[in-house]
Every structure is written in C-alpha cells, then in structure tokens.
Amino acid sequence: MPNTDHDSETLVQTEGKVGAVMVLGAGVSGIQAALDVAYSGFRVYLVDKGPAIGGKMSQLDKTFPTNDCSMCILSPKFIECSTNPNISIITSAKIDGIEGEAGDFTVTLLQRPRYVDEEKCTGCGTCAEYCPVNILDTYNEALAKLKCIHIPFPQAVPAISVIDPTQCLFALRKICQICVPTCKNKAIDFHQRERKLDIHVGSIIVAPGYEPFDPQRQSQYGYRRLRNVVTSLEFERILSASGPYQGELVRPSDGKPPQKIAWIQCVGSRDTTVDNTYCSAVCCMYATKQVILSKEHDPNLEAVILHNDIRAYGKGFERYYERAKKMPGVRYIWSKASIVKERPDSRNVVLRYRINGTEVKEEEFDLVVLSVGLNSNEGNRELAEKLSIKTNDHGFCESPKFSPIETSRRGIFSCGVFHAPMDIPDSVTMASGAASLASQLLCEQRGTLVEEKVYPEERDVRGEPPRVGVFVCDCGTNVARVVGVPKVVEHARGLNGVVHAVEETFACSVDAIAHMVETIKEKSLNRVVVAACTPRTHEPVFQDVLRKAALNPYLLEFANIREHCSLVHMGEKKEATEKAKDLVRMSVTKALLLEPLYRVSYNVTRAALIIGGGIAGMVSSLVLARQGIKVYLIEKAKELGGLARKISKTLEGEDIQDFLNDLIREVNENPLIQVHTETEVVNFSGYVGNFSSKVKIGKEGIIKDIEHGVTIVATGAEESKPKEYLYGEDARVMTLLDLDEVIEKDVDRFKDCNTMVFIQCVGSRNEEHPYCSRVCCSHSIKNALKLKEIKPEVDIYILYRDMRTYGFREDYYKKAADQGVIFIRYDVDDKPDIQTVEESGKSLLRVTVTEPILGQRLMIDADMICLAAATVPPAKNRSLSQMLKVPLNEDDFFLEAHMKLRPVDFATDGIFMCGTAHSPKFIDESVAQAQAAASKAFTLLIRTAIEGEASVAEVNELFCSGCRVCELTCPYGAISLEADRGVAVVNKALCKGCGTCVGACPSGAILGKYFSTEQILAEITAALAA
C-alpha cells in the first residue's frame, strides 16, 4: 500500500514470478483466501496441518449474531474448494523450509503419512467399522470417541480415512491390520512414509488460526479436575446437533440437562498472570450466543454470565447482547469469579463472586463454561520463524502500519486470527484482502498455471428418445449389505426409457469412472442416473463423467440410496430395498424429462465505479487500478480523504495524514483512476458486468455516463453532533473529533485545563442508535494518552459503560490506567450530569456521576469535557440504497449479503461495500475491507465473460400476465417487468436458480430449469407408484 517501492516492484519486475499461491492453514480464512486467489486466475496450494480442512469454524454450532448454523454455511465452501481444479488441498502437512523471495518462493512441506491412499479411498467408512481401537474424537473436543482409522468428521473434505499412528495397533506393535482386507479398494497402505514436497509459489498467505487458551494453566478454574467445568469450544460441541450428545444439552458428568449454567469470561484473556494482556475480541459475543442457544434448548434454564466489560462492538452485536440480557433467567453480572468447590454428590460447581464491589456471593451451578481466549500457539511461532516473518509480543503476526494484511516479509501475507483475535466476518474480509494483495503481486503471471479442463464437444441429444443408463453403487458394502442392489438393478431395467442398468462396487473409483465414460458412449446413453451417495458431494464428480462422455452435465440425475437409505435403515433390509427402488424410479422418471442446460455468459465492462473517496474508496480504487482496471472514483466532497482528514494519529501512534496524503497522491497520479469530486450518482441501472450510471459532476452539474462492470459502495460515516451534555452551548464541551483538532492545532487551550472528563457512548447504544460505534473507546484512550503526554499533571476521567478496547487495543487501555487515567463506569439509566457552576469567580463544568463500587454520587469539576459521539451513517445512504436497489440495515448502514461469509458483498451480484458504509470501524479494518471488496470485484472483472447459473428461471411470455408476483419474491432483483410488453423478464446473470418465483407464479408461466413443475410432479407420481 503506502509501501511504494513494493508496488513499483510489482509493476516492473515480471521475470521469474510464479503464478501460484500457497495458503497455509485451511480454516475459514484460508479457505476464503484460496477460493479468491483461484478465482483471480492463480494456482493454489491449500495446506493444513490437520487431516481435513475447516479449522475451528467447522466445530462451532451456530454463529453470532444471526445464529446461522456454522456447518451449513461452511460446508458448501469445502465443496467449492475440493471441486475447483486449481486448488490442491494438502492435508497433514507442515512447512519445513522456504527459499527464494517475493514472486518466486520454494516452499518445502513435510506431509505426514495418512496410511490411506488418497487416490483409492472413496470415504466409504467401512474400515472404521472393523477397527478395534477407540480413540478420543478431537473434532468433538475429546467428548466422544471414534475409531483409530476414521474420517475426521462427517462433512470432512477430503472425505477420506486417516489412521492415527500414535494409537494404531499395527503402527505401534505390528499387530492387527484388520482394516486392510476390509477395504475393497485396497486403499490402506501401512508402507506410507513421511513425504517431502517442494512447491514453487509466487506468494504465501498465512492463516494458521489460533488455539483456545488451555485453562489447565490456571488451577483456580478446576478444569479437567471438575467434570462439569468445560471450555467454550467443548460447549460448542455439546450444543451442536452433530456433537457428542446429538444436540441434547446435557452435562458431561451424568448426561443430565443442566438447569443452571455459568459462563466465566476472560479466561486467558486480559490477564497479566498468564501473560495474555490482550482481549480475545470474540468471547463476549460467543458466550452471548451460547446463552441464547442454551435458552432455546431449555427456556427455563438459568444463565449467569460473569464478565468484565461486555464487548459487543461489531455489526448487530449490541442488539444481540440486549436480546440475551432481556431473556428471563439470564443475568449478566460484572464480576470476576473463582471456583470454590465441587459438590461431591451432585458434582455441581460452586462459584464465588463479588457483586456491587463489596458483597461476596456463592452460587451453585450445574455446569460452568469457561470463555477461553484465542491464543497464537507455539506452532504459529514456529511457522513464523520458518517463514522469517515477525510476530508481536503476543505471538500474533506483525504488519506494517495501515496494511494489516502484509507481513514483515514481502510476498507473504497474513489473515484471520493469526493477525489478531477477530471474528469470522473480519477473518473472511482479511482473507479476501490477502487474496487481493497476492493477486496484485503476481499480476503478470495470472492465468499461467491454471488449468481448464478440456472436454469433448457435446453431443446434441435433443429430439432423441431417452436412453437412460442406471449405475447403482454398492459403496463397498455400505449400500450393498442393506439394500439388495441386484434387485434394484433389476427394477431399474424394467423402467420406461432405461436401456442399461448395472451394479458398481464403487461408482466413484477411478476405474469405474473410466468405464462409465465408455459405457455412455458405447450404448449411446443420453440420460444418466447414478444411484449412490449424496449429490451434494458427488454430483460434480459424475457431471464430470458426463462431460467426458460428450454429454451435457445436466442430463444427470442422482438417487441417494446411501445417506438417505442404506445407512439409515440398517435393520430393515426389505424396506430399504423397496425404498431404493422407489428412489431410483423417481430419478429415472425425472431423468426422462431432463434437458441439456447451458450457462449464459455475459460480457464484462472492465471498469469499476467506486462511490466515496475516503480511505476505503481510495484503497479499493488502487487495488483495482494497479491490476489494470479502469476506475471511476466519485466523491461528494471537494476533496478526497473523507472523515480521516480530521484525525491525525491512530491509537498506535501512526500518522494518518501521511498515509492519507500518500494515498491521495497515488490515486491522483494513477492514469487508470478518474477522480470526480463534488459528484453524485443520479441514475443507476444494469447488472453485474454491465452497469451504467449517470453521475452529476461539480457545481455546474455536468452529467456524465459511466459504463462499469462492478460497483463499490464506500460512502463512509459521520460523527454525530450530540444533542446533550451542553454540546453546542458551551465551547468547553467537544466531541472526539473536535478534540483531535484542538490537539493538532491549538495545544495552548490545555494550559488552563487541569481536569478533563470523557463521556463515552454519547448517542450510541441508546434508543436512537441501538448499536455500538466501535471506535470511540479506543479513540478516547488515544486522546487521553496524548493529553497525558502534552500535560502529565492533568486529571483525566473517562466515564464509560463498557470499555470496548478489543484485541490488542486492550494494552493501551491498561497503559492509560497505569498513567493514572481514572475510569468510572456508569449505568445507562443513571447517566452523568453536567452543570455550569460559578465558583470563586471561575466558571466550571460540574460533572456528577454515580461511582459504582461505592454507590455514591461523585462530583468532578472539569475544565473541558469530551463526548464520544456516535458514528452515524450519512443521510444519503437511503436514496443511494433505493437507487442501487441494495438494502440498508435497521441502523441505515448498508446490509451485506451474509453477515458471516459474505461481509463485503451485496446480495445483488457485482455490487460491493467497504469501510464505514458497512458499519463503524477502524482505519486498518477499513483498509482490509477495501482490499477485500476490491478482491471480490476483481474476480468478476478479470473474467472474459460472466457465467450465470444454468438452472435458472425462464418466463414463458405466452402465459405471463405481468402481475409482478414473481418480482416480489426474488431477493436478487433478477426479475423485472418489461414495461412495453407487460411481461416479466428474468435476468439470467442475476438469477441464482432458487425457484421461489417459479413456485409463486399463479399462472405457471415460469419454468424452473432442472426443477421444473413437470419434473417434480413426475417425481411425486413415481414416488407413489409402487
């Protein structure tokens, strides 16, 4: 970014760079980075130390603040990774060494043996049934057991078995090997040894994540000694429907549902005794989530959260916290708790904590959850050392100022919790940003190492009578020992249209697939039914088979006779066989009606419109322009810079104006960026790849037409003007930004200032703005520290509700306290009061506030008062949202497509957001988000054409009355009424194929391809035909 020599290198040096990127760590950050890099035209090596991808997020039950099921939103990404031809997943591997430099690294990996041949294993799981050794299930946080040879968890990718050599009888004592003959594919291989892999890449993205703090380090929590004290991650597994208790909320000691649960916050965070002074940033919210979920399990449950400041600083968090707080039986208590004892009979846990500062209380709980912090472990330190990148005192990755994604070594980027404790959306944002930086670095090598599969030309089967081939898979014995496969094959042979039906041992094995391709060709099949496992994982595999056999991939239909039949009706062979026949018949019947489908492709205008010329808008402009994209950057003010123009330094002491001026200069100098100030969008139309806008430029109001492929909304936010505390009435009362200006330009004003009072949450977390403005606590600390620097003798009071200095900002909070800044907590129902009083000829601002520990009113005579005013969205967000047809949230910030996994995308393709337009945030966070938005935009812009979905909706104009019902049901704005002809038209570039409009049309005028009414009715009929 501002590191200009770095950039010039990117632009000039092209020799010897490698168009591949390695991503170390395959949690949600690594996965997102890998996908974005692959979509940007590079080869990706996605490396994880464990046997499967997914990281910690795959272990979570739900995610805050939407309570989205974690696996529901994550597992589609697993499949996206595993089916992308340009992503190689390397599991059970760690880095051994690295040579070379940015653009051309050689990374040496050590891959532990899996003892299972990845090529041969189909993941059928039969081996595990015969393995005699039970081991602790780490996916379930050791609360359950699984076999020594196992698939790590049900949705694991790669879905292949692995042997734990530390517990395998053969590996340890050369006995057993029972598993070997059970594998019909001969995949188990005890001859495997550790492998060394040398991989050439141009860049590395480091995303190794975190380890939860181990509470055994602090004996006072009784962890592992007391059965009913669990960590928050263990509790996630307990809550999870796929967890050790199948989603029953029970406690470990006796399997009974707890009536009363306590959460202890800040375990291993904000704690000098374990040397973790930082705040882990997510625990307040995940505990709140766990409270809400526990209450869903048992509405009568009592929940007590023993906490320090509640840090509900993110988008939607404050409302979530308020929701939990208001639930009956939920108590948030501001106190540090210790464990007294365990009741020997009930094994209940007794906690002791202090309330109101003085009173000590003991309370008994059925279960205690330790909200453990996020640590960067020894492995991360080792990794950093191998890569020669610097880490901070806490073991997290260090980055240059204003560029959180860069590391101390060129060409290596970091994202996710390895950078700092953060939640999922921030991790995903950084991951996309990291992809963007890697992509910039390797710009010229784009496309050099990616492969596109080449298929034979498709045979046109339209008009042919259906010739259906049915392939029924035994899945080793998984299907065959329950379902009478020969009977199913026999049944299939008798069905209308079926010309070939055959049993396969493993339909997905390499041999079987090759054979299937030949069979399709030989028998001139034009529809294929695969009766095997779930289409969710294997549809891509068999679609590939069809393409290899010159058939359109949509002429495939699945019958799930494994997950939906043999595995769930094991004791009922007759019924299972009948059901399998029904399922095959349903699929064959539908297959008869399948038609070839094609993705429609659209040209892309390689230009971006970026609305808002603050830091976020400028950063995203540069990311795109540096990679050759034409950018129109429009700003409503006279100058670029936005709100940041008013702030001189960050909390960490970095100079914002220097950074800003560098940015502005670079933006102005870049020939691909066309800047228009005093400019607004007045008209907006089109769709992804093909937008056209009209903007009104300058005072003269010149209208300019802009054609662009993507749009980024970076309209920023503003500091509100307080309506209370004498603001605007008394010049000594100012906002944080006002104070910034005084510090910058008018230090003399502090001469007579002996007492300064900061009041937090002015206009935030109230009825008008029921959200937290995120930055003000740190902003106040920054100004307090600066004041102490200017005038050490000044008395500073900070009146706060919760100090929300999350992450490493906590260290500055501590520093301020160490320097004598006095922090007084106030309650929202008992806010501070300010009066002007005359005393001994001097006018004073008298602040009265209740001191919470003493419970008494405290009077502070202040010379100056600083109000931490709310960050608010610009009023114009409303009109912009209507023009762009993108939604705002209830607070008028722009609303993303998905709070967790699509934090910079709108539901409408091709429109993105970044910076404070999304929600209040710090500059480094805005930078990361801007890079992420640009990355997402870029993955669209580099395509020669954008391909829509194949299974889209299509309006039959002969039946459409133009009633607009369909239009109302489409969340993607893909349907519009064509005014002249009075009929609805589906924009196939925007349609996602959900079929909601198809279902809604009262005239039956919309065809839902691949799921047509005719096809579904045929399935229904076939299901009931037995």
């Binding site: 002969l958 039946f959 459409c960 009355s961 133009g962 009633c963 607009r964 019902v965 239009e967 109302l968 049901t969 009424l977 009075g982 909601t996 279902g999 809604a1000 049309c1001 009262p1002 005239s1003 039956g1004």
Partner: protein, 319 residues
C-alpha cells in the same frame, strides 16, 4: 341455408347466465337472423319431451349453463349431449361448478339439516324433509334428487367448449356466439375468452411491485383507485384468474373474485392464488407472517369460490 339450431338450457344456476345471453344487446338480432332457437326453457315454451323427440344431433349447438347438482340436471345434460352437435359449458357453473359448487364443502346431509332445521327462520318441528317421491291423492309426485357431489358439465358429459364467467361478459358471450354462427370454431375443448393469460394483463391499475403487510376485506378500506388492489392488501384474484372480461371489477374498485377460472394450463385455480398470496407477504418474521395470513377470512371459500368442483380434491372431506 338452414339456420343454426340453437338450444339454451339452465341446470343448477341462478339465471344470470340466461340474462347474460341477452346482454349482447342489438346483436341478438344478428343471432335471430342466422339461428333458430329450438329450446330455451327460461324464455320460450318448450317441453322436455320436445327435445326427447328430436333425432340425435338435431341441435347444432347447446349453450348449457348451471352446475350438475340434481338428477334432473344430469338427465338433461345427457339428453342434450345426445341431441347436440356442439356442447358448450356456458358460464362458470357449467364450466367449473361456481357458487353451487361451494356445496361440496359440506355433505348433503348437513346442508339439508341446515336448511330444513337449523336456520333461524325455519320452524319444522316435525322434521319434514323433501322426498324424491311423494304419494299424493292425485298420484305419485316425483321431484329430482339432490346429489351429494356438485359436478361440472364436463364431469357429467363430454363438453366441446367452455365459456367462463359468472356470468360471462357480453364480449365473451359474443365471441362464443360469433364463432358458432360463423362456424369458425377454435380447437375443441378450449376455453373461449379474449385472453388466456391472467387478468392483470388487461387491468389498468398501476402495480408498483409492493408486498402486502395486511390483508383487508373490501369494506375495510377505501383503496386508491389508480393502484393495484392486491398491492393495497385487497384479495384481488386477478393474478390467478383468466382475463377476457376487461377487468371491470378491479377498475371500479372491487377486487376480482376469480369468476373466469384458472388461466390456461393451470390445474386448481385456488391453490395457485393461495401460493401467490403466500408469496407476497411483507415480513421476514414467521410469527408475523402467520398473523398476516390469519387476516384472510374463509380462505378456502375465497380461493375456491368458483372452482371447487374442478379443484384437485373436488370436495371437502366434510361431515
């Protein structure tokens, strides 16, 4: 050239369809010129036996209105089918059962109990019920038997054309008559209307693409006369009803009630209107959505007002 021999008959109906045939105004003269009416009980003095005496296919075309609810309806439908070259189900009752068809929400027994015992104005201490056969001094009297299931004409005999509407609009009637008189007939078994699409196509009210927060009955609101009634929360059936009538009701501020039946190709008009309504509710809160839905009074009666006998289930599993 012989004049076209035309029969008109009313089965279980209100008489509105017969009146509707006259609504064509002076065009009736054109009809009189080219056609000869051979049977029209409501307007001219013919006896059933006159029809019985006719040779088969003597009648060129029969406009049959009314649902098939009694043994007499059924008998006449079969007889007229035999005597007619072309059988036209004229009007909603004959076409899809219409208001008489709503009887299919109840059993015959419960209807009779209601009518002959329970209504407030009934005084029937002896619980006297009509009988199909009664002995009187003058001889045996026979009145038609009321059936448990109301059927459409097509569910009773083979029908060549359908004319929708309760009653059919003048222009629809003329479209059918013109075709018959000129012999320029459309494909057999088709529905004769100026439109095969839903009514919205011909409605001039402005649709803004708005979801519905609350449903109203017509007396509860005064709608904006320029805007789409459905978007204003009125249960306007136009989205799921065949057009051709000219959308006079909605344009006069009264929501369409669906009398032209399902649009071309749709089976079960009611469930399609239901689906459309369920799809345009302006809420993402399941509890609120259910509350909004609860604002629709008598949904089945509303959705199947005209089409219960041609719906998938044809009748309720009523007591």
């Amino acid at each position: 050239m012989d004049k076209l021999k035309l029969a008109l008959y009313w089965a279980s109906s209100c008489g509105g369809c017969d009146i509707a045939t006259l609504a064509i105004g002076e065009k009736i003269l054109e009809v009189a010129e080219t056609a000869e009416i051979v049977f029209w009980p409501v307007a001219m003095d013919f006896k059933y036996k006159d029809v019985e005496r006719m040779p088969d296919k003597r009648i060129d075309a029969c406009l049959f209105n009314g649902a098939i609810r009694t043994s007499e309806d059924e008998h006449m439908a079969k007889m007229l089918r035999t005597k007619s070259k072309i059988m036209v189900a004229y009007g909603s009752c004959a076409y899809e059962g219409c208001i008489p068809g709503l009887a299919n929400f109840f059993s015959l027994k419960s209807i009779l109990e209601r009518v002959y015992e329970e209504t407030p104005s009934t005084d029937n201490p002896g619980k006297v019920y009509p009988q199909t056969r009664v002995q009187m001094p003058e001889g045996d009297l026979e009145i038609p038997e009321l059936k448990n299931m109301v059927k459409t004409l097509a569910q009773t005999v083979d029908v060549d054309y359908f004319v929708p509407g309760c009653p059919p609009e003048e222009k629809t009637t003329w479209l059918a008559l013109e075709a018959l008189l000129n012999g320029k007939l459309p494909e057999r078994r088709s529905v004769i209307s100026h439109s095969s699409k839903a009514l919205c196509e011909e409605c001039s009210l402005v649709r803004e693409g708005r979801k519905v927060k609350k449903f109203y009955r017509p007396y509860e609101v005064i709608p904006d006369p320029e805007k789409c009634l459905l978007e204003q929360g009125l249960l306007c059936y136009g989205v799921a009803t065949r057009g051709g009538c000219g959308a006079m009701c909605p344009q006069a501020g009264m929501p369409c009630t669906g009398c032209y039946g399902a649009v071309e190709g749709v089976i079960d008009q009611g469930v399609h209107f239901l689906t459309a309504l369920g799809s345009i509710i302006d809420s993402t809160d399941p509890v609120e959505i259910k509350q909004i839905v609860d604002g629709i009074v008598d949904p089945a009666g509303t959705f199947y007002r005209y089409s219960l006998p041609v719906s998938l289930f044809r009748r309720a599993k009523s007591v």
